[in-house]
């Protein structure tokens, strides 16, 4: 136990050019830490600047969207649309001309499928020269 303590003491007292090695390592560690903190802070500042920039862009775009939406709302206001459509000769659709999807078949019945006529053999003979002409 005592020898171990003595060895530890000697290790602690080991000096390089008059400076304890423990102190050298300590200084190196501190330097490494200072550097890493600097790097981390610089990276954080860069990210933060990027975030601010993106947020500013979002805000600017938000403003533009808001402006455009207001313009759309102004152009689509019901009074204006109605005046325009009345001017264009449009009006509410008469009830007799309205229909839902369900009663479409009753309005225009689906045509009966025509019976499939099996092509007579002469048709095939006509087709063969046509193909040859294309060649």
């Amino acid at each position: 136990m005592n020898t171990a303590l003595v060895a530890l003491n000697r290790l602690f007292a080991w000096k390089i050019r008059g400076i304890r090695w423990v102190e050298i390592i300590g200084v190196l560690l501190v330097a490494a830490m200072v550097f890493s903190v600097y790097v981390a802070k610089a990276a954080a500042a860069r990210e933060s600047a990027r975030i601010s920039d993106l947020e500013r862009q979002i805000s600017d775009n938000g403003q533009r969207v808001r402006l455009l939406r207001a313009e759309v709302a102004r152009l689509e206001q019901p009074n204006r649309l109605e005046a325009l459509s009345r001017g264009a000769g449009l009006g509410p659709v008469d009830v007799h001309r309205q229909a839902t999807a369900e009663n479409l078949p009753s309005l225009a019945p689906i045509p009966e499928p025509r019976p499939v006529v099996i092509a007579p053999t002469p048709a095939a003979t006509v087709e063969t020269p046509a193909v040859e002409v294309e060649r």
């Binding site: 938000g62 019901p78 509410p92």
Partner: protein, 578 residues
């Protein structure tokens, strides 16, 4: 014993300190004195190195403790605190006031950055040229303000609320001394459309009227979150209402007009219009009217609900009703004994007067109270108080039964009609989408009464005074109201109010989706001036146009086909007791 005696606890404190300090101060000075002389004492004890080590250890411990605390604090702040990295940032799209949108997200009001134009005369080179150019780019700028700013001695505001386009126009002049400062401005892109619903905001961003005022705090909170604020209005419905109301008012050369469309099951207001829109006064909430025969609906409902009458009850309207010196007659006198249905369909004053006087003041007052006729309408936009009768004599009861002697706001009428047609629950009207969560409906009449009244109102459109409100396949039911206005204390036949209070679809169960439409035309100048002629046609057109928006399909009912054709087989005059 010498001055270096190791057993001496402390040196004597200088005498001036003792005399001047209180005992607690004395203790402190003594303690400091003791610490100061510790080194000396240690030397005196012949253990100087021990003393130094103790000091170093104590200082080391103190510093270590402080640094450990700092480390723990730093780790906690960096890793465990919510919103780490710069605290809570505001939402990038945060605005002072949220966009106000309708129930489908269509924009009603928004905040847009405008600019104030400032001029610093010290930096302007050629003032005359600058004035000319600015006036060309911005014709609305006041000449005197521009001159004041250009020839003043400090930076001055020339004009504010420049739109982004105007700002660009001025900016492109590249004049020295001209600068802009952004300002948030509330914009209502719809102009006069829906203005009575949306309201206005002051320059500080505080709501002044209507929904802007009613929901001020919620709109600001939503704005901070970058969200929109929805209200119950449906802009398409509102647009139809405004256009049809304006058309009806112009066609009848009226002084004013009001239209309200509500969802009777939730109390949501889908559209509310006051004509002329240029008038800042919202007639739906700020004006009261004697509405005439529409009130017969409530008189008849009270009679049915109390069990005093049913569809087959006979009422004698063969001759005028005499109450004291007052003689009550019918506008369309039938001079016969009528059933309750006939009384309603022919809008018989005599019949409803008989009903109301039979029910008496207590019952009538109770029912009017239940329908919200006697108190201000509970609504987000503050409304006018009704003018109610002071005494409830038989003559007053007769007047009330057909809508005279009581002036109510159109909002009250809309709420009461909603209550009567949704199964009998009085639900306060609201501009809040989805209805007011804090209010539960109050049962005021039985669901059976509600169904009976729906049927009666439908019959009134099919065969009674409301025929012009019919919209093919939409099962519109309603009641007309026509009243003369009191001018200088006398009822003038030249000043009338025509009303039509409708509901559609009138068939189906009590809890079916159903919409109430109220149209009131104030002082129409065309003849006839009754509600059936001035207001009912507008209601029919409105129902026809909004049915698709609110999702009411065209269907046949016992009276009409889906395309609005008569069903001649229907001769059920006696009915099934309703």
């Amino acid at each position: 014993m010498s001055a270096h005696d190791p057993h001496v606890g402390s040196r004597p404190v200088p005498s001036w300190g003792v005399r001047r300090f209180t005992p607690s101060w004395r203790w402190l000075t003594e303690a400091m004195w003791w610490v100061e002389h510790a080194f000396g004492r240690a030397h005196a004890n012949a253990r100087p190195e021990e003393d130094t080590r103790v000091r170093i250890f104590v200082i080391l411990s103190a510093f270590s403790f402080v640094f450990v605390c700092l480390t723990v604090g730093a780790i906690h702040a960096a890793l465990l605190t919510a919103g780490a990295g710069g605290g809570v940032r505001p939402h990038p799209n945060a605005v002072v006031r949220a966009d106000m949108v309708d129930r489908n997200g269509a924009l009603l009001a928004t905040n847009i950055v405008h600019y104030g134009l400032y001029i610093d005369p010290a930096q302007v080179w050629d003032r005359r040229a600058a004035a000319a150019q600015i006036r060309r780019a911005l014709p609305r700028v006041s000449r005197t303000r521009l001159q004041n700013a250009l020839y003043g001695d400090r930076r001055l505001l020339v004009v504010n609320r420049l739109t982004p386009r105007e700002k660009v126009a001025v900016h492109n002049l590249a004049l020295g001394g001209v600068s802009f400062e952004p300002e948030d401005v509330r914009v209502h892109p719809l102009g006069e459309s829906a203005r009575h619903v949306v309201g206005s905001v002051d320059t500080g961003g505080v709501g002044l009227s209507a929904a802007e005022r009613a929901f001020n705090d919620e709109i600001r909170a939503a704005g901070a979150r970058g969200e929109s604020f929805q209200i119950s209005i449906d802009l398409r419905v509102q647009g139809v209402l405004e256009n049809e109301l304006a058309a009806a008012a112009e066609a009848t050369q009226a002084k004013g007009a009001v239209g309200i469309i509500t969802d009777v099951q939730t109390g949501e207001v889908l559209g509310m219009a006051s004509w002329p829109a240029s008038n800042s006064r919202n007639l739906a909430t700020a004006a009261t009217y004697e509405m005439g025969s529409v009130f017969k609906t409530f008189t008849v409902a009270a009679a049915i609900d109390t069990g005093r009458a049913d569809m087959n009850t006979l009422l004698d309207a063969s001759e005028a009703l005499q109450i004291g010196s007052r003689r009550i007659t019918d506008f369309h006198a039938q001079n016969k004994v009528m059933t309750l249905e006939e009384v309603y369909l022919h809008s018989s004053n005599i019949g409803t007067s008989r009903l109301s006087t039979e029910m008496g003041p207590r019952v009538m007052r109770d029912y009017f109270e239940r329908f919200g006729m006697l108190s201000r309408a509970p609504f987000e936009i503050p409304s006018e108080s009704p003018i109610v009768p002071g005494e409830w004599s038989d003559s007053t009861l007769a007047s009330l039964s057909f809508g005279y002697g009581i002036s109510i706001t159109p909002m009250q009428m809309a709420a009461a009609m909603g209550a009567l047609t949704n199964g009998g629950r009085f639900i306060p009207l609201t501009l809040r989408k989805g209805g007011r969560p804090d209010v539960r409906g109050r049962q005021i009449v039985s669901p059976e009464t509600s169904l009976t009244m729906l049927d009666l109102m439908r019959r009134n459109v099919v065969r009674g005074s409301g025929g012009r409100a019919e919209a093919p396949g939409l099962r519109v039911g309603g009641k007309t109201g026509s009243a003369n206005k009191s001018v200088n204390g006398r009822y003038s036949t030249a000043h009338a109010v025509g009303t039509f209070a409708a509901v559609f679809p009138a068939d189906g169960p009590v809890n079916a989706r159903r919409y109430q439409i109220l149209v009131l035309i104030d002082e129409p100048q065309t003849y006839p001036r009754t509600g059936g002629f001035v207001a009912a046609p507008a209601v029919g057109r409105i129902a026809d146009r909004i049915a698709g928006f609110v999702g009411v399909a065209r269907r046949a009912d016992p009276y009409r086909t889906a395309l609005g054709d008569r069903i001649p087989a229907f001769e059920d005059l006696e009915g099934d007791g309703r």
